[in-house]
Symmetry: C2
Subunit: 117 residues, 2 copies
């Protein structure tokens, strides 16, 4: 992937955003969702995903339910009641960051807006 290094620090809030949107997801499903939503541009690798999920569980931000589907184990993740606040916080931080990047990439935005009217 070209975006390799750009990802650092964004994966955790991305996962939390997915969970806050969809309620309940298992790991493999998350990687597929991210791929779909970004048209393959961002790939959530397993080596990154599972350690993050384990850490989020440790921190009490997500909880798990194990189910056996088609004889394969599947672990569903969802936000805990107490974790929802922290999750929202991190999502908003990412939103603000994206906002800042837009300001840097489009420094004349305000000006263009005025000129365009």
């Amino acid at each position: 992937m070209a975006t390799k290094d750009l990802l650092k620090g964004t994966l955790k809030p991305i996962i939390l955003k997915l969970l806050s949107e969809k309620g309940r997801l298992y790991g493999y499903e998350m990687t597929q969702s991210v791929k779909e939503l970004t048209q393959g541009k961002i790939e959530l690798t397993f080596g990154a995903l599972y350690p993050i999920l384990h850490k989020l569980e440790e921190e009490g931000i997500v909880q798990t339910e194990s189910e056996v589907i088609n004889n394969r184990n599947r672990i569903y993740y969802s936000l805990t009641e107490s974790g929802k606040g922290k999750a929202q916080e991190m999502i908003e931080e990412l939103e603000e960051f994206v906002s800042s990047l837009k300001a840097l990439l489009n420094p004349n935005y305000g000006l263009n807006y005025v000129l365009a009217r």
Copy 2:
């Protein structure tokens, strides 16, 4: 800063964007520009900035001119002619990344757009 980890990988294209916009900048000036454009939300630290600039110069993407202003040394950076292509490439990569983040943060954007009309 709250955005700490989010920055990884974005600083280089941000610097290149600044240089492609303004033509010529010195290091200290870059940190001020980023602070202004992002309303203090993104802070380009010196420990990050100078190693990146030195590396960009090594790679032939930027060139320097030393000047003494007010008895203080000042090193101006600008894109080399041959570096402009590579710079543009990295800037576009960042733009695409921001696009992907927007898709993840606003998964119903298309839908909302239709509904809002």
